[in-house]
């Protein structure tokens, strides 16, 4: 018996199934097909997914799409079935994943011309995991999709080793993320022991009138840890820079653009649907405001002090994830809407920057800022693209990043946190300035020639791969598309109102549960608002100007440091910070356990 409400509801599980089926097809047929055919099939699959998710997004705008797998529909609000609940925010982030996958496939045609169909297969499995995680309404399915996404990601990290000295990044990534997932599973077990269900809508009803006792706090902390490890919140963030330094550029595009924000998405999805009625709002808000701010500052400082361009971008992702956390921690429609637009704009800008790093690696055989001093002197066009991306990262209006930043600042100020706009401007300026500095050194040979060049990169290395002499259009078009995407997010009229509606649906936990279990229609009222305000525009320009100052200070700072030796004293704490990022997986696990304790303290202690 088909018990789907309508054809649209059937599309949600199909969206998860298509990439898995196509991955199997490519795995079997890939050996016999020429590489170009594999590329075309993979790209066509990703594009089909883009249109499917776009359709689901439009359909979900007029109400959540609920699908009970195999017809296990609820009776009187009770069901043991597995449910998919598609709301605009979930469909939106799944659409982002599909779009970035399509762009990554296009970039890989020439960039990864040596890989076989395994790569495409893993990418499609990765996509299936991400789409599943975004659309599911079941906690155990979240764990399964999380691990599917994770296993594919570990394989992709190590599939083509770009930085031969750093393969350990792949295993650090795998061990830390999987251990996080098992902690999530432990928390899920505790929740199941208390309530007898693992569906998010059922858990909401079971816990709605519950007291926040020790078991609930333990479950909350454990469940969220796994997803926050993926979301790279301090002190769970160590794996991220290691994995990004190793993974191929198109894979980094997916990691930074959507996988890491997806971790944050899942954490807040679980908070809103399951724990929002139980845990005191103030405690949760304080927890994520503090940890988000620490994440943002640490990421920005680490990004500024990197010379390996991909690691620099990785740390800037950590910094921006901290900003997303701060915005979401306002626990309001405005903050969530701001974070949503910020994530979309950031994906475009950061993705373009990672692909430019890939072009650098393909052309010059390195992404080290010092070694490549002046290397790109003849390719000013790529340098200009890098500068545009850097200014986008710094939040120059009208990029989507600037709009997201302005809306988040607005929401935080309205909630009474006056320090948040300062944090946003400072972090945007530092990360954008770091990228601008790289652009200045590599493409425009600005500043004095750096003295510390790595000796191993001596000229005339015989066994090196042939370098790319001409950048093909399949590598330039994705960069342009991503930058344009980052711009369009900020220019779309009504983006703020649409994001407000998606955010209001996202945080409406009772509506989520009632619509899934009782098919009650949703009554979302979201404020419509204009995109840009004067203050938002002004702060955007301020952070872009500050980013230029940061870049100039980085380029010519050595002379300043020679004049004022006081400045050198900042190196002491900075070195300590660098030593903490030791690359040792045991240290990372120790930090993770500490983070678990910190989270438990933040949530549990005020409840006593």
């Amino acid at each position: 018996m088909l018990s789907f409400d309508n054809a649209t509801a059937m599309l949600a599980p199909i969206a998860v199934a298509i990439p898995i089926v196509m991955a199997c097809v490519l795995l079997v047929a890939g050996r016999r097909l020429p590489r170009l055919a594999v590329d075309v099939v993979a790209l066509a699959t990703a594009l089909a997914m883009v249109s499917l998710l776009a359709y689901l997004l439009v359909a979900a705008a007029s109400g959540r799409i609920v699908t009970w797998a195999a017809g296990w529909t609820p009776h009187h609000g009770y069901s043991v079935g597995i449910v998919l609940v598609v709301d605009p925010l979930g469909a939106g982030i799944a659409l982002l994943a599909c779009s970035l996958t399509a762009i990554a496939f296009l970039f890989s045609v020439r960039y990864l011309d040596a890989v076989e169909a395994h790569y495409h297969c893993l990418m499609l499995l990765f996509l299936a995991g991400m789409v599943g995680l975004a659309l599911t309404g079941d906690l155990f399915d979240m764990f399964v999709f999380f691990e599917l996404m994770g296993a594919a990601a570990y394989g992709l990290t190590a599939i083509v080793v770009e930085d031969e000295s750093a393969l350990q990044g792949g295993i650090n990534f795998g061990i830390v993320n999987s251990l996080g997932a098992y902690l999530s599973l432990t928390g899920l077990g505790l929740l199941f022991a208390r309530t007898g269900s693992v569906g998010l809508p059922q858990l909401h009803t079971e816990l709605a009138h519950h007291r926040p006792d020790a078991l609930i706090v333990a479950a909350f902390v454990l469940v969220l840890t796994g997803f926050l490890v993926k979301g790279a919140m301090v002190p769970f963030h160590f794996w991220l820079a290691d994995a990004h330094a190793v993974a191929p550029a198109p894979v980094c595009l997916l990691f930074s653009g959507v996988m890491v924000p997806l971790g944050i998405y899942a954490a807040f999805r679980i908070y809103w649907t399951v724990f929002a009625p139980v845990l005191p709002l103030g405690d949760v808000r304080r927890t994520f405001l503090v940890l988000g701010a620490v994440t943002a500052v640490l990421g920005a400082v680490m990004a500024l002090s990197q010379r390996h361009f991909k690691r620099l971008l990785a740390y800037s992702t950590i910094a921006h994830v901290g900003l997303f956390l701060v915005a979401l921690a306002c626990l309001s429609v405005g903050g969530t809407a701001g974070a949503l637009i910020y994530v979309a704009g950031h994906a475009g800008v950061k993705g373009a920057l990672f692909l430019i790093a890939g072009v650098m690696l393909a052309r010059y055989g390195s992404v080290d800022e010092y070694d490549l001093y002046g290397a790109g002197n003849g390719q000013k066009a790529m340098g200009v693209l890098l500068i545009i991306g850097a200014l986008g990262l710094a939040g120059l209006p009208p990029f989507g990043t600037a709009l997201g930043k302005a809306l988040s600042e607005d929401a935080a100020s309205a909630a009474g946190y006056g320090w948040v706009p300062v944090l946003f401007v400072a972090v945007s300026a530092l990360t954008g300035g770091a990228v601008l500095r790289v652009a200045g050194r590599v493409y425009f040979a600005l500043g004095p020639m750096p003295v510390e060049r790595s000796p191993m990169r001596a000229r005339g290395n015989e066994d090196e791969e042939p370098r790319l002499l001409h950048v093909p259009w399949t590598m330039i078009a994705p960069i342009l598309v991503l930058l344009a995407g980052g711009l369009i997010v900020g220019l779309l009229p009504g983006a703020h109102s649409v994001a407000n509606r998606a955010a209001a649906t996202f945080i409406d936990s009772a509506g989520y549960s009632h619509q899934a279990l009782y098919k009650l229609p949703e009554g979302i009222v979201a404020p419509t608002a204009s995109n840009w305000t004067g203050v938002g525009l002004g702060l955007g320009f301020v952070s872009a100007v500050l980013a230029c100052c940061v870049a100039l200070a980085g380029l010519y700072g050595r002379r300043l440091a020679e004049k004022w030796p006081v400045l050198r004293e900042a190196y002491g704490p900075l070195n300590l910070l660098h030593r903490l990022h030791s690359g040792h997986v045991g240290d990372y696990v120790a930090w993770m356990m500490m983070g678990l304790a910190v989270l438990a303290g933040f949530i549990g202690l005020p409840l006593r």
């Binding site: 393969l167 999987s178 240290d587 356990m593």
Partner: protein
């Protein structure tokens, strides 16, 4: 007695994590990860276990079904968990082999290519 199973589950997860912290060998780290995961199997199974409960089989309409059964849902979850474990462990062991090929060592203390 039933508390004992929960104690074992928690101990396995913690000792697995501790093992990764102290490990001098990446193969051992991956196996420690599997040990931590077996803690989740024990936890899930002990949540659904009923003392003196029957297997959850309801087939014969003629006999009155015994409603005192162990929970099949957690058993299904444990099976899924085991599949996940096999996937992840094999993937990580493959990466460990790659590391050994390139660096000639799988001691995380001696791998110091990435710092800071």
């Amino acid at each position: 007695m039933s508390h004992y199973a929960y104690f074992v589950a928690g101990w396995l997860i913690l000792i697995g994590a501790f093992g990764i912290m102290r490990s001098k060998n990446l193969i051992q780290s991956v196996v420690c990860l599997a040990v931590a995961q077996s803690g989740t199997y024990v936890l899930l199974l002990s949540i659904g276990y009923q003392w003196g409960g029957a297997p959850p089989l309801f087939g014969e309409p003629a006999t009155k079904p015994n409603l005192h059964v162990v929970d099949p849902l957690v058993q299904a979850m444990t099976l899924t968990d085991i599949v996940v474990s096999a996937t992840v462990t094999s993937m990580l062991l493959a990466i460990a082999i790659q590391i050994h090929k390139r660096h000639g060592t799988i001691n995380p203390d001696e791998l110091n290519a990435i710092r800071g």
